[in-house]
Structures are given as structure tokens and as C-alpha cells.
């Protein structure tokens, strides 16, 4: 019997605080992303080097995705959405490092990420429409829909958690089972599939976050940009 994918064990203790593997890997990833970003953006020039051009391409692509999905100016949402995409992508692909299990394969990390999206949804909804206006969206199209809309807000956050958790965890779980049956080379195609799933799931999580936040914020007129869109 393989060990439970839901169980979680302490890796080491920092004083009274037990540090588990997902927490350690998450902090490692955060260090890597923040440190990498600082190092890579330290010398920006008007005539970009190849490195800067690649980074700009990445940022522009994410901006384009936000503009296409949310139909608003991307500047306000770019930090959150871009960080979500990069973090989940690197978290899913951290399985490439031997001995490291992706932190997203544990439900706690996914719950934290989905809670961030939930909080951002409420925040942007209240910011764009005002408290009254945001609460009024729950009564659309009629007042009969209020309980359903409330339930939907909770369940779609929950389904985001289970979707990311289930996909990443099942990859880790299947590879564990296959490894215990045959050791050499057989798990490699499964690992490749797992990488593809990881990338696609990072994209899907981000797109869903964009759709939910965009739906809560609605068409806030001041954030709308019409200048660089073709009529």
C-alpha cells in the first residue's frame, strides 16, 4: 500500500513550528521567483538585451491574455494574475527536481491559492461596484437567485481547489504507483504527460481566476482601454 496522498508530515522543526515539505518547497520557490526577478530586472535598458526581450515577451503575453479574457486594461490585474501563473507553473514543474514533490499536490497549497483568488474577487467587486453594487450582483437576474448565487460563489472556489489538487496529485500518485511496479524508463512518458498537465492546469487556474475576478468587477468604465484595440 502506498502512503496516503492526503497525509502530510513535518520535515523539520523551527522551534515550536513544524515545517512540512510543501511549506519548505513553497518558500524555496518564492525565493527563486523573487530573487530571479530581482536579478533579471536589475539592468533594464531601452535597447533590450536578449534576456530582457524574452522577459518582455512573457509579460506582454500575460497582458494580452488578461486583455482578451477580462476586456479591461491589464495593469491593475497583472501583478496578481502573473504571479499566480508563474507560481503554479513553477510549483507544478518543481517535480523535475529529484526528491521534490510539487507543493500543489497537497490540498493546503491549493486552498491557499484559491482563497487568494476568492479574496481578490470580493475586493475587486467591491472596488469596482461599491459594496451595495457588489451585493446587488447576487440578486441578478431576480431575488429568487440569491441562495443559488451564494452557493455558486463558494462551490466554484472549491472546485478550483479540487481541480488543481486532483490533477497534480493524481500525476504524482500514478508515477509513484508505476515506480513501485517497474523502476526504469517506464515512468518517463507518464512524467512527460504530467509536465503537460501541470502547464495546462496552471493556465486553466489563471484563466478561471481572471474570469471570476473579471465577472465580479464587471465593466468598470475607468479601467476600460479602447486605445489599442482594433474596432
Amino acid at each position: 500500500m502506498t502512503e496516503s496522498p492526503l497525509a502530510i508530515y513535518a520535515l523539520f522543526h523551527l522551534g515550536p513550528i513544524a515545517v512540512t515539505e510543501p511549506v519548505a518547497v513553497t518558500w524555496g520557490l518564492m525565493l527563486l521567483l523573487v530573487g530571479g526577478s530581482i536579478l533579471l530586472t536589475r539592468r533594464l535598458a531601452l535597447h533590450p538585451t536578449a534576456r530582457q526581450a524574452a522577459l518582455e515577451l512573457l509579460v506582454t503575453t500575460i497582458e494580452g491574455q488578461i486583455r482578451d479574457t477580462m476586456r479591461v486594461a491589464p495593469a491593475r490585474y497583472l501583478p496578481l494574475i502573473g504571479t499566480l501563473l508563474l507560481f503554479i507553473f513553477f510549483a507544478n514543474w518543481s517535480a523535475l527536481v529529484p526528491g521534490v514533490e510539487p507543493p500543489t499536490a497537497h490540498i493546503e497549497t491549493d486552498a491557499a491559492l484559491a482563497l487568494i483568488v476568492f479574496a481578490a474577487m470580493v475586493y475587486h467587486g467591491v472596488r469596482a461596484r461599491g459594496l451595495r453594487g457588489y451585493l446587488a450582483t447576487f440578486a441578478e437576474p431576480t431575488y429568487v437567485m440569491v441562495p443559488l448565487n451564494l452557493v455558486e460563489t463558494i462551490t466554484r472556489t472549491f472546485s478550483m481547489i479540487v481541480r488543481l489538487f486532483g490533477n497534480v496529485m493524481s500525476g504524482v500518485f500514478v508515477i509513484g504507483i508505476v515506480l513501485s511496479l517497474v523502476g526504469l524508463l517506464v515512468p518517463v512518458p507518464l512524467m512527460a504527460l504530467d509536465l503537460l498537465t501541470g502547464a495546462v492546469q496552471a493556465y486553466i487556474f489563471t484563466v478561471l481566476a481572471m474570469v471570476f475576478i473579471g465577472g465580479a468587477a464587471g465593466d468598470d468604465a475607468e479601467g476600460k482601454d479602447n486605445k489599442d484595440r482594433t474596432p
Binding site: 496516503s4 472546485s159 486532483g166 490533477n167 493524481s170 500518485f173 503537460l196 498537465t197
Partner: protein
């Protein structure tokens, strides 16, 4: 082995097996439609493939939900403790 454990194992097996049928059919239809579209319009293959992969991942999630339920039954069964 008591009755609850037997029922949990059976439930897990049934959840995964029947939970795989619907998404299997759905993914088959999606891939068939994408192949049809690529055959008609090969120059749109890039966009179609990208959308197809995202759609497949969304459909696959239904099967993953069943897997999560099965694993909950096997590893974190609330009725066993």
C-alpha cells in the same frame, strides 16, 4: 475486515470506473470534433490544438473529481474512525 471497509473499497472502485465513462465519451467527442476541424482547415491547427488541450483538461477534471472521492474513501474515510 468490517462492512464499512468493504463498502468503501467497492465505492472507490465504482466511483473511478463509472466516473471515467462520461469524461471518456466527452473527450472522444472533443478530439473527434477537433480532428474534423483540422482536416477542414489545417491552417487553424495551432489555435485548435491549444483550445483542445484546455478543453480536454476541463473535461478530465470530472474524472479527477471521482478519483479524489475514491482516494478520500480509501485514505481519509470519515466513517472508519
Amino acid at each position: 475486515m468490517n462492512l464499512i471497509e468493504i463498502a468503501s473499497i467497492l465505492g472507490a472502485a465504482l466511483a473511478v470506473s463509472f466516473g471515467a465513462i462520461g469524461p471518456g465519451l466527452g473527450e472522444g467527442r472533443a478530439v473527434a470534433a477537433a480532428m474534423d476541424a483540422i482536416a477542414r482547415q489545417p491552417e487553424a491547427a495551432g489555435t485548435l490544438t491549444r483550445t483542445l488541450f484546455v478543453g480536454l483538461a476541463m473535461i478530465e477534471t470530472m474524472a479527477i473529481y471521482c478519483l479524489v472521492i475514491a482516494l478520500l474513501l480509501l485514505f481519509a474515510n470519515p466513517f472508519l474512525h
